[in-house]
């Protein structure tokens, strides 16, 4: 599995680990985090109970690395970037995307995190199959921004 993917939802333990600052390195005053959760949307009277994510593992790896390099090149105050996406089944209310950018100051942390989220949505080869409460399912696309 690609290093940016995790099987199933991103749980609190993983988030807590990702949120810890690098030991002894305290120059990042600002951290911006984006968390994506599966919404219990209604779709034609049916309710989403989960999403089954599939991914092109090796290309997720190469695209995620390119996205991180692009952010680091564009924001000189950024110190670190983490990104994790789920693969497989993630229930409604559970977390499927975690993006974190730490920087010296808040502007770059917030802007770089926002840009990373857009690049992930646009370029990470991941697909979602919505699973409904009647056990039917449907492949969905992201809506344009």
């Amino acid at each position: 599995m690609a290093e940016y993917l995790v099987e199933g939802p991103i749980d609190n333990e993983l988030m807590t680990r990702l949120l810890a600052p690098p030991a002894g390195n305290f120059d990042a005053g600002a951290t911006s985090v984006f968390i994506g959760r599966v919404r219990a949307d209604e779709n034609g009277g049916k309710k989403v109970v989960a999403i089954e994510y599939s991914a092109y593992d090796e290309m997720v790896n190469s695209e995620a690395t390119k996205i991180i390099d692009q952010i680091l090149a564009g924001f000189n105050n950024v110190k670190s970037i983490s990104l994790i996406h789920s693969r497989g089944r993630v229930g409604a209310g559970e977390i499927s995307l975690f993006v974190m950018v730490s920087a010296g100051h808040r502007r770059q942390a917030i802007e770089a995190c926002s840009e990373a989220v857009e690049l992930i949505k646009a370029r990470l080869p991941v697909w979602k199959n919505e699973v409904y409460d009647d056990n039917s399912h449907e492949w969905k696309q992201n809506l344009p921004l």
């Binding site: 994506g36 994510y53 599939s54 092109y56 090796e58 290309m59 190469s62 996406h85 499927s96 995307l97 989220v117 992930i120 949505k121 646009a122 370029r123 990470l124 080869p125 991941v126 697909w127 979602k128 199959n129 492949w139 969905k140 696309q141 992201n142």
Partner: protein
Amino acid sequence: MEVKVLFFGVLADVAGTSVRHYGDVGSTDRLMIRIQDDFPEFIHYNFRTSVNREIVNGDVLLNDGDEVAFMPPFAGG
């Protein structure tokens, strides 16, 4: 020569599999002709093509061992 072809998302449902191998296809356009012979519904879907994990546009020459993927619009997040 032989290429490995990956189908993702709804296209894996259309192909009934997520991976197939095709021999004697010199380019992505010629591969598409073979795939549409096998799966006529393919033409109704919107997708992008990658060769060795890089998105390609237009007709691209293929070499033995290349990995071609047919990818519906991404839906991460």
